[in-house]
Structure formats: structure tokens, C-alpha cells
């Protein structure tokens, strides 16, 4: 069975909310929508205090190249526009809306009916993804339409759909595959048109046999789409690893998937693409797993963006002895510093960790056991990065390839000395990146 070739680890899957159907979370009374909901520059607000808005109406426009439009997930009145703390605690500009009713913009098809026939052309599909503010929902929130504006002379051989869901605990992609199968497949068809690629491959790890079976059945009517079972291993969902697992190709250092003839999208993104292309519905919701070993009331929610996190926490009830709340999975997710915040695009999981799992074990001496090297899916030397980063040897860090680190956390998750490798590697990487940038600026 296929998988990526070097490194990787096997964290406990903990897919505790696998069998729980997606539930729609009720509308809040007031919502706060951040204008930055993608990688890149913030979007610029196009509404003002006192404006009446409908569901799906544009709130903030993307002006920069890498940026995504932000739409209103609610109908109501703009209360104010001011900086609000996100889950890291930093304040970012946001639009606060008093929710009144649930009135949708007329251009959006709100019917339940599945529209399979794609009428839009290649350019129209890309423009629609841009207009609807579609971003990659695997976690990075990279504006999707940018991936499809292929550089001169490049063409795509494959659309690769990441349905590996290799992060422990998270189950929204799994539910998506079972509950929204046809929508996802039509979304993939749209992406095939948008890219000009002849073939799409859906990579699913073999710990989800039901999803594999279900999609294999459903793809019988979609000859261009093939389901590829993958051997379960983290980080299979990382772009470079997924490309290797599915096609055997390798993305050269510092290059993009398109240089290997591939465009990679998450399965949740294909669903958003379907809604945008076929229903003209902007990205105004997130599918979020709310889970944890000690949480009795686990959920897979469909939540409107801007909904206060507090309401969701209150709805499920924070388990006693919770030591850490994570946005995202336990391998790459971020620990929340502030729970008084609001849902944003790509917030795919709220994970409660017990106090006993939250504290780090004190580090001891490096044994030079090489487990970090064995675990690294990029073939790097995390132990060496740590030593060099501590001494701020940025040139050496660059020479040893720190910029190729994908920050997956495999090294740290298996370190017997409990050394916080990724902390130091991230610091070293950002310093090295800054050094490279300033050198390039000096040259030009």
C-alpha cells in the first residue's frame, strides 16, 4: 500500500467522534468576523457601522494577490468595526454584527438539491472561487484560487485531494466524505476543469475503510476521479508527503506542488468549491470537531464563521481538569491563549486536553539516539537544528536545510529526552528566513 517514503510517526488515532453525524450549530445573537481569514494580507472592509447585511454579502474585499474575500455569515446590522483578540490573544480588525433573522442573499442557491452538471468555464470557476473567498481548509487557509492561476509554462497532471485526515482526533473530513460525498466529487470535477488536469486522486488512509469503500462506490460515476487507499502514517496530509504517496513524485526544495505537476486540495475545500461553483455560496461556515478524551459530549458541528467560541464551549461543557484547549489537531494545532474569541475559516477542531496531558515533561540530555532523524519526513536533522538554533548560527541552519522543515512535529513527539525540538526549530527557521529575505533585498 502506498505512503510517503521517509520518516513519519504513528500517533494514536483517537478518532473518538467518528460515528457522530454533523450537526448545525444554532445562530448566535452577535457575531464577530475577522477580516483576516486566510494566509496573506488582511481583506479591506467594504461595510460601515449601521449597514444592513444579508447572509453571503461581501464584508471585506481581498485587495492583495494572496488574500481572500470575507462574507457575512449572518443577516443583521453592522454594530462596529474594531480590533478583537483572536485565540492567540492578539487583536486583529474584525466586523461585529448584530444578528437579525437569517436572510440570505438572493444570488445564493439555498436549496438542498445536488447540482451535478458544471456549466462554468475554467476561468469562471477560478473567478468564482476567488469571489466566494475559498481558502484551503486543511489548516493553512491559503487562498484556493491562487493555486489555480498556473505560472507560465506549467501544467497540472493531477489534482490531489487530501482526505488522509492524518491528525489525531479530527473527524470532520471523515464525516464530510460519508455525508457530502457527491458534493465533494462535483467539487473535484470543478477543480479538474479549473486546472486542466486529466485526473484526480483522493488519498484516504486505510484506518478509514468505510470512507474508502463509500468513495470507491461513488466514484464509479466519476471516471476521472480515483480513490487511493494509503498506509496510515503521519504526516500523510502534508502537501509534499501526499504528493509522494499518491504519485511517487518529489517536489524540489523551495518549489511548489505545481513544479511536480500537482495541485493539492483538502477534501473539505472541495466541498466549499462545490458550494461556490454550483450554488454561488461563499465560504461562511466551518466544519469543526469538538472532541477530547474526557469530553462526554463530542460533536461534529457545522458552525457559521464569527460564532463566539464560548457558545460552543458552553454547549458541550468544558470537561473538568481541562489543561489545554487546542485549535486544530494535537500534532500541529495551536494551544488557545484566549477562549473569548470567534470561529474563523479553517478552524477544523476544538480539542480539550486533560491537565495531565497538557504539561510538558522536563527535558533531559540529548541521547543522540537519532529518533528525530528517523521520524523526520523531510530527511532533516532536528537535533542539529536545535544545537545550531540555540547558538544562533543562522548560516549553518540554512546550509543544513532548515527552510525545508514543514513543522509537522514528528521529531518532538517521539523524543525520549522530551526536548522541545520544534520550538527551537521554528525560532531558528523564522530567523533564518528573515536573514535570507534581508540578503535578497540587499542584492536587489
Amino acid at each position: 500500500m502506498k505512503t510517503f517514503k521517509i520518516g513519519g510517526v504513528h500517533p494514536e488515532a483517537q478518532k473518538l467522534s467518528n460515528e457522530i453525524s454533523v450537526e448545525t450549530f444554532p445562530l448566535p445573537k452577535q457575531a464577530t468576523i475577522f477580516v483576516t481569514q486566510s494566509l496573506g494580507a488582511p481583506a479591506v472592509p467594504v461595510v460601515a457601522k449601521g449597514d444592513k447585511v444579508k447572509v453571503g454579502q461581501l464584508l471585506a474585499k481581498a485587495e492583495a494577490f494572496i488574500c481572500a474575500n470575507v462574507h457575512s455569515p449572518f443577516s443583521g446590522t453592522v454594530n462596529k468595526i474594531e480590533p478583537v483578540a483572536d485565540f492567540t490573544g492578539y487583536k486583529k480588525p474584525a466586523i461585529i454584527i448584530d444578528v437579525e433573522g437569517d436572510e440570505w442573499d438572493e444570488s445564493i442557491d439555498t436549496s438542498e438539491e445536488i447540482v451535478s452538471e458544471i456549466k462554468l468555464s475554467r476561468k469562471e470557476i477560478i473567478d468564482r472561487m476567488k469571489a466566494c473567498g475559498i481558502v484551503g481548509l486543511g489548516g493553512a487557509c491559503f487562498p484556493t484560487h491562487v493555486k489555480y492561476m498556473l505560472p507560465e509554462g506549467k501544467s497540472a497532471d493531477y489534482i490531489l485531494v487530501n482526505a488522509a485526515e492524518c491528525e489525531p482526533y479530527i473527524t470532520t473530513d471523515y464525516r464530510m466524505m460519508l455525508e457530502q460525498t457527491e458534493q465533494c466529487l462535483v467539487g473535484i470535477e470543478a477543480l479538474l476543469i479549473a486546472s486542466g488536469a486529466p485526473k484526480a486522486l483522493i488519498g484516504i488512509e486505510n484506518n478509514k475503510p468505510e470512507a474508502i469503500r463509500h468513495l470507491q462506490e461513488a466514484t464509479k460515476t466519476h471516471p476521472k476521479i480515483e480513490v487511493v487507499p494509503l498506509k496510515t502514517k503521519y504526516p500523510q496530509g502534508a502537501e509534499k508527503q501526499l504528493i509522494q504517496a499518491l504519485t511517487g513524485r518529489t517536489v524540489p526544495n523551495g518549489r511548489l506542488p505545481i513544479d511536480a505537476g500537482c495541485i493539492v486540495n483538502n477534501i473539505a475545500t472541495t466541498h466549499a468549491v462545490y458550494e461556490a461553483v454550483q450554488k454561488n455560496k461563499p465560504l461562511i461556515e466551518t466544519y469543526t470537531t469538538v472532541t477530547g478524551k474526557h469530553l462526554a459530549n463530542r460533536k461534529n458541528y457545522k458552525i457559521r464563521l464569527g460564532t463566539p467560541l464560548k457558545e460552543v464551549l458552553d454547549a458541550v461543557g468544558i470537561p473538568e481538569n481541562t489543561g489545554k484547549i487546542i485549535s486544530g489537531g494535537p500534532m500541529m494545532g495551536k494551544a488557545m491563549a484566549n477562549t473569548n474569541t470567534f470561529f474563523v475559516k479553517g478552524m477544523s477542531s476544538i480539542l480539550f486536553l486533560d491537565a495531565s496531558e497538557s504539561k510538558r515533561i522536563p527535558e533531559s540530555n540529548c541521547l543522540r539516539c537519532g529518533k528525530c532523524i528517523q521520524a523526520c519526513p523531510m530527511g532533516l536533522e532536528p537535533y542539529l537544528f536545535r544545537m545550531l538554533a540555540v547558538h544562533n548560527r543562522l548560516d549553518d541552519l540554512e546550509a543544513h536545510g532548515i527552510m525545508n522543515c514543514i513543522e509537522c512535529g514528528c521529531c518532538q513527539s517521539g523524543c525520549p529526552a522530551h526536548i522541545p525540538l520544534l520550538d527551537t526549530v521554528k525560532t531558528g527557521k523564522s530567523k533564518t528566513g528573515a536573514m535570507i529575505k534581508s540578503r535578497q533585498v540587499k542584492k536587489s
Binding site: I6, P168, Q244, T322, R360, R368, L380, G414, C415, L422
Partner: protein, 333 residues
């Protein structure tokens, strides 16, 4: 629950449970079969030497950490226990206990703690101590009690005899043919070598017991196959070439694999993670270096046995190997 009590730290937020302690105690468990065979063939002195060696290693580590380095003692990590066991395994079973204590001091005090403690030592502490004892006390360190099953205990510490490698070295020097030496009365047959009924440092005698321990370590992912396989295979091939060319002067490759410290060295000493290379490729180079050097010393050196020397020599090359043999990068697959 108040919000400001939440932990905030960087990813990853989960750990696979591996720890220094778990690794070290796994090695201790893996050494048990070899220990039991030693007790079977050499009796009570084995237990005594092992106890003294382990206890003095722990004690020296504790004293040095507590009173000289003034750091929190970390004797519970099990690494001093391993050093103690391996040091004991590398001496004859009739060694004076004071020499064992001295060896423990050299291992822990000089080879380990002087370099900065666990993880920072360049050379395998137990081997440094063994070589120190071998050079300083050559007679005591090369007087080998005969391996006698436990029911014949009583004679065990009286009768001494040469090791198979000693017989070979001496015989070849005197111009005897290898086939003649193999037939000599003092030489054990291959089955005896396999189970460990032969003279030698008491922990190294049984290839079978050591392999059982090594398989356990492989299974627990404490070691990888690279070093033992490279070590044994290169020694086998290298000694095999000489044997094929001139079987009257050179012993068979399987004789070399089953005698002396070859198995213990390849499975437990060379695989010490602190003093071996980091990448798989580096480990293969390191293992081959150990294997070939061992055979060179055995065939052409003054000593009948070369495992300790070859591992220590290769230990010195580890920083260079780490520099020259990087892990295979993703971009070069």
C-alpha cells in the same frame, strides 16, 4: 474553571511516551539472558562482580553529580546501570573486585561525567574502562576461568584456560595449522560457542543469549538493525576473504563471529546511541568500520581480540561520520 489557567505551548501537544528511562531499562532487560548464561557457566562470582560493578557505577555517578558538578543526580535514568552491567560483562569472572571498582570509576568518572554526562561522552564508557584495565592489568584481565556448568560449580573458579581466540593467536604464531587448532582439546566446538560454553569475559560468551537480547531491543525500537548487521556482515566477509585465500592460517568467518566479544560488541556496545552515528547511512559506515578493524586486529595485531579497540576507534570517527553521512533528504529520493 478559570480561563487563565489554560496551558499554552507550541505544537506538538502529544508524545508517544518514549523516554530515556524506558530505553535504558529496555537495554537492562535485554542483557538479562546473557547474564543468566554467565551465571550458569561461571557461577556466583558473576553475580558478585556484576553487583559491585553496577553499584559502584551508580555510586560514582551520584557522588560526582551531587558534589562535584552540583547538579540534580539522574541515576534513576538507568544509564549508569547499563555501564555497570556492560563493564562487568567485559571482564573475566575471577577479577579482583577492587579492579572492578577502579574500572567503574574510569567508566563513569573519566569516560562519562568528565565529558558532560549522559549524551555528551565521545567514547563508550564501559569500553574505555575495559581497555584501561586490560592495558594496566594485563595478567588479571586475561586469566580466564573455564566455563563449567553450574552443577560442577566448585571447580569453576579454580580451573583456568585460554579463550578460543587466544588458542588461535598463540597457535598460528607457533606455526600450527588452523585445522589442527580447531581439533585441539581446549577448543570448544561450534555448538558450545553458540550457547556459550567457552572461556572469555563472562558476558560475551553466549551468542544465542545475546541475540535474544538484541532481538528484544530491535522489537522495542531501541536499536536499529544497521550497526549490528553492518558490524557482523563486514567482519564475516572480511575474515572470509582471508579464509578462502589461506585456510591453513586463517580461521573460518563463523569462528570469528562466535568468539570473543563480537556478538556483545555488535549488539550492545557499538549500538550505544550516544557514541554511534545519527543517520542510517552513518550507522552502516560505523558498523563496517568496527567489523573490519576488529578482524584486522585479530589477524594482524598483538592482541587476540580487537572488538573493544575497534569500537573505541570508530567512536572517535563519529563526529566526522555525522558530518559526512547525512540522512537521505526528501528532495533526493
Amino acid at each position: 474553571m478559570s480561563e487563565n489557567l489554560l496551558q499554552v505551548s507550541g505544537a506538538p501537544h502529544v508524545h508517544n511516551g518514549e523516554s530515556t528511562k524506558r530505553i535504558m531499562w529496555s537495554v537492562v532487560i535485554a542483557l538479562l539472558p546473557a547474564f543468566m548464561v554467565s551465571v550458569f557457566y561461571f557461577g556466583l562470582p558473576v553475580i558478585l562482580i556484576t553487583a559491585v560493578s553496577v553499584a559502584s557505577c551508580i555510586l560514582f555517578e551520584y557522588l560526582i553529580q551531587k558534589f562535584i558538578l552540583k547538579t540534580k543526580p539522574t541515576i534513576d535514568d538507568g544509564s549508569a546501570v547499563i555501564t555497570g552491567l556492560l563493564l562487568a560483562f567485559n571482564v573475566p569472572s575471577n577479577l579482583n573486585l577492587l579492579l572492578v571498582v577502579l574500572g567503574a570509576f574510569v567508566a563513569i568518572g573519566i569516560a562519562k561525567m568528565a565529558f558532560g554526562g549522559l549524551g555528551n561522552n565521545l567514547f563508550n564508557p564501559a569500553l574505555v574502562a575495559r581497555v584501561f584495565l586490560l592495558i594496566s592489568f594485563p595478567v588479571q584481565m586475561t586469566t580466564w576461568p573455564k566455563a563449567t556448568p553450574i552443577w560442577n560449580f566448585g571447580f569453576a573458579d579454580i580451573v583456568t584456560g585460554p579463550t578460543p581466540l587466544g588458542i588461535l593467536k598463540e597457535g598460528v604464531k607457533n606455526g600450527d595449522a588452523v585445522s589442527q587448532l580447531m581439533g585441539s582439546e581446549a577448543m570448544p566446538d561450534y555448538l558450545q560457542m553458540l550457547v556459550g560454553q567457552m572461556g572469555g569475559s563472562f558476558g560475551e560468551i553466549s551468542a544465542v543469549a545475546i541475540l535474544i537480547g538484541a532481538i528484544f531491543l530491535l522489537f522495542r525500537k531501541v536499536i536499529t538493525w544497521h550497526i549490528p548487521v553492518a558490524f557482523l556482515l563486514s567482519a564475516f566477509v572480511f575474515s572470509g576473504i582471508f579464509w578462502l585465500v589461506d585456510p591453513t592460517h586463517y580461521a573460518t568467518p563463523w569462528f570469528h563471529l562466535l568468539t570473543g566479544g563480537m556478538m556483545l560488541g555488535a549488539c550492545f556496545m557499538a549500538t550505544d546511541m550516544v557514541t554511534s552515528p545519527m543517520s542510517a547511512r552513518g550507522m552502516l559506515v560505523f558498523g563496517c568500520g568496527c567489523g573490519i578493524l576488529t578482524i584486522i586486529i585479530r589477524l594482524f595485531g598483538a592482541y587476540p581480540e580487537g572488538v573493544s579497540f575497534s569500537i573505541l576507534i570508530m567512536n572517535a570517527f563519529v563526529p566526522l561520520i555525522n558530518k559526512g553521512f547525512k540522512p537521505q533528504p526528501y528532495s533526493k529520493i
